[in-house]
């Protein structure tokens, strides 16, 4: 990447005519100005609020589940309520929180800014995506109020076609949410293809854009299969078409193939943008050029491609042919390699860096630790001999929480703390931010590490009760979940406090070289007020600390050669 600084002159709106202090948050008021806005930043903020509410709701169900499991047998609810609670925890967290989480909330806000653009390519589609998300969320909440579902978030047939409850309502909510996800994906692909400024070639894009691009590809290619799967499920349940019903000659395992053809790539819809966030953060907070830029970019695409080839590893013990099982096992290992490459490149980025333990960086380091465990325990599940024993046990539960929560949610929090000053123009308390991060880290490990042990010792997942020898592990896990909840509340408190009493944020508090930090904090309605200077996204040599500004400023055009 040989670069010289270049100005994207035509992106400039000129600061003239803009009242001092006007930004995208206060440029218009009234609920209509939010609900029907076409501004990607406002849509991103609305997504953020809705997604955090979903996280809260899913978290309530998680705490109910953990509390019930603190002792065998009836603790606070009966088996039927427990089944509904864990189903709703899974469904809400997956479809309403993690899948849209980073792309729709953070992605919407930062993607055009990273490109130095004024908006995404299709602002109306973007708003439609949010409205559809809201409709899906309302349907899901309505289904909960009407009695909920007890199928597990995976909706396996024939259980899901025979049980009582709001299965149709929930699966239709999933269908609707799928459209929201597709629209976001289409928008991001088009924006990255068509809105890159002159001079920003593919390999001069920030890695967050690569990650969002790879994510969008999966969203566009996998989500339609989920759509047809849930439609078939609804048709099976309402009309009795018999495609998944063994009593009518159908094949229930076919549903699992369809479902995982989407839902396995979906975990990469979750983790890829998380990896993009981490790539940005590690480099910025180490003040050092990202190591192995191309390797990280290509590995994002490799993960997107491989993600479509491994769905069968959810069915190693379903009775699919041993040949298919062996092939899926081999393909599954292939996903581990690009993930490992990313981790090594992040470590190499930190080598000889100037590392500052700001809150986003503490979360990023926590990500490497937890995702490391999540990824390595994936090896046990990809290996056939051990998966037979561990499949559908708490080991699997712990594994995907280490990747999904320890990976994605931690990266999401890292990203929120990183871009918070940009989004709302306020600085938060680093000290309390870090305390929250440490509590989350400790609570998380306590909650889920004990689940690895009980899983491999023989504790199946989705059990309302359990033999007494597992009680100690369940108690540790439950106490851990309380600690985790406290940590999350501390983190939320830090952010809310900053809105009310936080110091005004400078344009570039972390010294990042990507373009969004050239906009004001918070940005104006049209994002950039002055000319945007296009530089290498990971070149920090032109940025110096300004004590007066309490942030980093760009020095006059230094010659930048790498």
């Amino acid at each position: 990447m040989n670069t010289g600084a270049a100005t994207i002159a035509d992106r400039s709106n000129g600061a003239a005519g803009r009242p001092h202090g006007e930004n995208y948050l206060n440029c218009a008021s009234g609920w209509r100005s939010w609900l029907f806005t076409l501004d990607h930043k406002r849509i991103g903020v609305m997504y953020l609020a809705a997604i955090l509410f979903s996280f809260f709701l899913g978290g309530i169900f998680a705490l109910l589940v953990r509390t019930e499991l603190i002792s065998p047998g009836h603790t606070i609810m009966d088996a039927d309520s427990y089944n509904r609670a864990f189903t709703l925890h899974g469904a809400i967290m997956t479809f309403l929180f993690i899948i849209p989480g980073i792309p729709a909330a953070l992605g919407n806000f930062v993607l055009p800014l990273l490109l130095g653009a004024k908006d995404v390519a299709l602002p109306r589609l973007n708003l439609a995506s949010f409205h559809i998300y809201a409709i899906g969320a309302v349907m899901a909440v309505a289904a909960i109020l009407l009695g909920g579902v007890d199928t597990g978030w995976t909706f396996y047939t024939p259980y899901s076609t025979t049980t009582s409850g709001q299965v149709v309502m929930v699966t239709l909510a999933v269908f609707v949410l799928g459209f929201s996800s597709i629209f976001t994906g289409i928008n991001f692909i088009v924006t990255i293809h068509k809105m890159r400024p002159a001079g920003m070639g593919w390999f001069r894009m920030p890695l967050m854009l690569w990650a969002l691009y790879a994510t969008a590809i999966i969203q566009v290619l996998a989500t339609p299969v989920l759509a047809i799967t849930v439609l078939l499920l609804v048709a099976e349940r309402v009309l009795g078409i018999g495609v998944f019903d063994p009593a009518l000659g159908g094949d229930p395992v076919l549903f699992q193939h369809f479902f995982w053809f989407y839902s396995h790539p979906a975990v990469y819809i979750m983790i890829l943008p998380a990896m993009g966030v981490i790539s940005e953060l590690i480099s910025t907070h180490s003040r050092k050029t990202i190591f192995g830029y191309r390797a990280i970019a290509y590995s994002s695409i490799a993960i997107a491609v491989f993600s479509f080839l491994v769905w069968g590893h959810h069915m190693f013990v379903s009775g699919q042919s041993p040949l298919a099982t062996v092939i899926f096992s081999a393909l599954t290992f292939s996903v581990s390699i690009p993930s490992a490459v990313k981790v090594f490149n992040w470590l190499a980025t930190m080598y000889k860096g100037a590392i500052k333990l700001e809150t986003p960086m503490v979360y990023a380091l926590s990500f490497i630790f937890l995702f490391g465990i999540g990824g390595l325990t994936g090896l046990f599940l990809a290996t056939l001999a051990t998966d037979v024993h561990l499949h559908d046990s708490y080991f699997v539960v712990a594994h995907f929480h280490y990747t999904m929560m320890g990976g994605v949610v931690i990266a999401f929090l890292a990203g929120i703390f990183h871009w918070w000053p940009k989004m709302f123009g306020r600085l938060f308390s680093q000290k309390w931010g870090n305390i929250g991060a440490v509590l989350v880290f400790a609570g998380f490990n306590l909650t889920f590490f004990s689940q690895f042990v009980m899983g491999s010792k023989g504790m199946p997942r989705r059990y309302y009760s359990y033999p007494p020898e597992f009680e100690i592990y369940h108690q540790l896990s439950t106490y851990g979940s309380y600690l985790l909840a406290v940590g999350l509340f501390v983190a939320a408190g830090v952010l809310l406090h900053s809105l009310l009493a936080g110091r005004r944020a400078p344009a570039n508090p972390w010294g990042s070289a990507t373009l969004e930090w050239q906009a004001a904090s918070p940005p104006s309605h049209h994002n950039f007020d002055g000319p945007v200077i296009l530089t290498d996204p990971y070149d920090y040599s032109g940025l110096v600390w300004d004590a007066e500004e309490q942030g980093f400023v760009r020095t006059a055009h230094e010659e930048v050669v790498r």
Partner: protein
Amino acid sequence: MASVAANPRYEGKHHLAHHFDTRRQQFDSHKLAMWLFLVTEVLMFGGLFCAYTIYRASHPEIFLFAHTLLDKNLGAVNTIVLLFSSFTMAWAVRAAMLGERRRLSALLAITLLCGFGFLGIKAVEYNHKWQHGFLWGQHFAYAELQDYLAGHGTDAATGPAPDPAADAHAAAVMAELDLAAAVTVAHGHDPALIPRNVHIFFGIYFVMTGLHGIHVLAGMIVIGWLLRRSLRGDFGTRNYTAVDLGGLYWHLVDLIWIFLFPLLYLIH
């Protein structure tokens, strides 16, 4: 052209959105988005084609038998109707590009009529299936199937016409039994004639053609909207993106039918 430029509505409708640099960029963005949307449509139907392939591979006899219950002629007519509508749609896009507003409106109207024609013929077919109980899964009427075959002789090339007396007996027996048992009786009666689980074919048939029908309906709504805008004078040489994208969508709907017709009606 002058009349187009003078139309105030037209002037207001072809502006460049503030976040795009050039009109070319705006057009390309919209077109790429439409293509991506079509990709998702193809993948959604792809799931159904997968289900079709899996069941056809595992139960070829069901498909061989059951497709004879469909009306090839109506299917063929519908194929022609849709192909013709694709032609008029493509011509409409051309007319929009050239700014031929009256021709554009006429062609869109013909395309819309073809859509109605398609759905009308489809309704006739569905009604026939409904009358005879050739429905999906648990609603398939095996007893009626016996009557139907006895009454019509059979165009199933797989076996001779059944003995009417034996059929009447079988039908009477089956009427008293539940579905699973009925399948067994039918199977035992003449295995060459009626395979087990014929309802699987109709489950797939109704889901595929039903979902396609919904897409035809969606396409007609789009074309209706385009027609209204066209009559209002919104389109011209510098603003035909909507017609172009609507056309792409309509072609996809046709294309899916081009696959559905042989896969469901013309099985050997």
